[in-house]
Amino acid sequence: MTLSAPELATPTAGAPERPATAGPGRRWNAQAVLAVLPAGLLVVVAIVGPFVVPYPPRDVVAAPDLPPNAAHWFGTDSAGLDVFSRTVASTSNDLLIALLTAAVATVAGILIGLLVGMNEARRGPVGFLARGLSRTLDLAQAVPAIVVGLVLVGFFGASIPSLVAALAVVLTPNQGRLVRTEVLRVRGEAYLDAARLAGERPFRMVLRHVLPNSAWPALENATLVFGSAIVLTAGLGFLGVGLPPPTPEWGTMIAVGAPSAAAGRWWAALFPAIALAVSVFAMSALGRRLFRDG
Amino acid sequence: MTATSEIDETEFDETAVVGAPPATGQHLRILDVAGLTVRYATPAGPFTAVDGFSLSLRAGERVAVVGESGSGKTNACMAVAGFLDPAADISAERLAFRGQNLLSARRGVLPRRRTGMAVVFQDAMTSLDPVWTVGSQLRAVLRRTGAHRRRDADAAAADWLRRVGLHDTRRVLAARPYELSGGMRQRVMIALALCGRPALLIADEPTSALDATLARELMELIVSIADESGTAVLLVSHDIALCTEFTDRTVVMLGGRVVEEQPSDRLAELATAPYTRGLLECVPTLETAMAEELPTMGGAGGADATSEAGAGVPQAGAGR
């Protein structure tokens, strides 16, 4: 599967010099609007799309394999479902899964990363557990994400919650590793010593200094997690273990359209594929805008 | 390797000095800079880091460029060395090294070496390549200067280590930079810079991370090897005392401009610029250590020179 764990798991050695620019005073220009607009449109489509589509996305509405025409803008698939309506209606399912996954994986990743990073060097059972957890995060890389997703969803059934849970299991380790690397960096910074000298208690210190300074890469990465989640959801759909048909979902649509494409009827697979790529692009552009300089 | 007292002739030939007097190296002007200006484009408009810097250096001469942070000293010298970012806008009336115009040199992503010119930087730990052994790094340079066979290069490398005072050559040659102490790394860096027998060595704050003892040792080392091989030295430093002790001439920079140029040994008597005088006064010495209060600079300093007039100790404490 394309965008998957390795893509995300690149804790850059030595954090890039990124001064605290996330704060106020960021200037808005045409570029910024351009970065945020697609993601905004996507959300709008996801919310209102299912209500304004011309045909019911789950029903057979016309003859199968009609090429794009005035009545069916994107044509119909091999079962006679309207590709345009299904492509639009899929947005809310795919986006919802991806959003929830990105949120769960990021929050869990930050917590695990903090826990591991702060306790790894300790002696005693806490340190031992933290080191074990740290190794587990590394080992989690050994199995392809799509396979883990496949197994989990295959066994536990495909629904939005189970997909989110499975994808979160797959994607959390990367976020955790990313945060852990940052925590280890922050732990060496002199301002933690200064806080200790100011009498700060460990818990407050984590909250005030470690968390804000180490969670950043994971937040930036969250949009990539979002992209991976979309791609993985669609990939599972493509393999036939995603949301059960006739639920509109891009991966399932592409799977249905693939044999048609091999026979020269390109439209049933092309449009959902474009929708998929556009949403991943839109979100990564948003991520770059929100969490990076300039 | 024998120490020749003259610049390597084969290297000299490729940049034949046009119209230079056929004299000995002593009278040869090897570096000629006039009106050097370095600008950067910033969001807030163009920023001039160096403004009309001029300097000329004869073979074997040692010149210091002194200034505080933001004085443009490093920018000026790195422009000469060819190590400025391609984004920097460099212009000059003249910028020539051994008769070769340096301004026309194309600047790409990778800086180009200027034949006959070597540079040492402040931090040996980051300057030395961390993943290769010291021996391999020395060989990489020595193989280009005649020691083509590995055995010759190895012998020459060991020889150079001994010249910089590292006598445990077998261990040092096999070591990687992080396995050496700070002082040893600094010496390895000097050996690497000088073993290519450059005509000019540009040393950018070579000692500022070291304490006085080590700094002196290192400067003495640079000077003795440079003297032996007739290498000119351009020393860039904020340490005015060090500069005046180890060089022939001192150039003082402030805000991108040259404010003073004097023979080093008479800088204290001849200095006319108020900034130079202030700088000389400010340097903590064992003499001023006995004083009640250190002299501070008025408004002449850089961005930090806030008025000291009203500065006292904290008057209102917290606990009252």
């Binding site: 690149t10 066994f155 791609v231 669609a234 | 790409g108 070597a118 961390p130 993943v131 810079a193």
Partner: protein, 348 residues
Amino acid sequence: MSGLVRRNLWWVRRLAVLPVHLFVFAVVVFFLVRLVPGDPVRSLSGGQTMTPEQYEAAREHLGLSGSIVEQLLAFLGRIGRLDLGSSVANGTSVSAEMATRLPQTAELAVLAMTLSAAVTLAVGFFVVLRPGNPLSRALAGYARAAGAVPDFCLGVAAIFVFYSVLHWAPAPIGRYDSLLNPPPRTTGFPLLDAALSSDALLLGSMLEHLVLPVLVLVVAYAPMLMKLFIRSLSQSIGDQATRFRIASGASPLMVGLSITRRALPSSVAMFGTIFGFMLGGAVIVEQLFAIPGMGEYAVQAVGRADFVALQGFLLVVGAVSLVVFFVVDVIIMLLDPRRRPGVTVEEG
């Protein structure tokens, strides 16, 4: 002698933890499979009523009898004998299946990764050294967009364009033309076997059938490597060490080697991860091109709720990935000795 030992201790130590990792992984797989809800015996019998004896026999057969500790020990014992059990669905030996399928996938993965690595090196240097060039900007953009177009989209598009429209590629079914006979099995790797059998027709057909899947994998995965390599290469070029190399007068070749050696470790790590992924996870490409590899097996196993087959699949994939990671770690430690265990680098 002791010097020899000390010099090699770093990779020996890394090798020594490999079995530990394998063991931990096996235990995790064991418990993961047992976490699956429902009774595998009941669901497999398809609702047929069983006598208690039949039921117990079925449990026994699946390794589900006895306490959890006994089950684990039996499970580990069987793994030790390389026996992965037999498929619940059709009774075939999982080990035997793996032995024929792993080479199929490995061949695909090795070809795709070799090509990706070559492309990455070439593109990386080009992009970093010629930043202003329009082609280099386009390539950099492609690398940044890594992953936005997933492999199944690329695969479907490739089949449409090169098979149905242009007719350049053969039908996306299997490894070779269905009219040809399979090569005699000598190494297990189909392409190698075909080459050894000197059956030019078969070899040609195989190569023809490989072009599209390999290209899809390269186009989908190489940008991830490229993105990372471009980043670390420009970091490495900007290093003080690079400047000092040039300043001290090393040859351009040596400067290039120095830059590359410092840039490579992070890309090598990513290479290993992607390679591991492909060995078990070229799932979608195998599905698309009907290649009988590991991924296809996993999809079938999930479809049939065949937990023995899946367990075996996970173990093989995990083991292969862990070995790949070991090799990657050793290569990284060779490139950058600071990463060897026990090496401390003082800061600053």
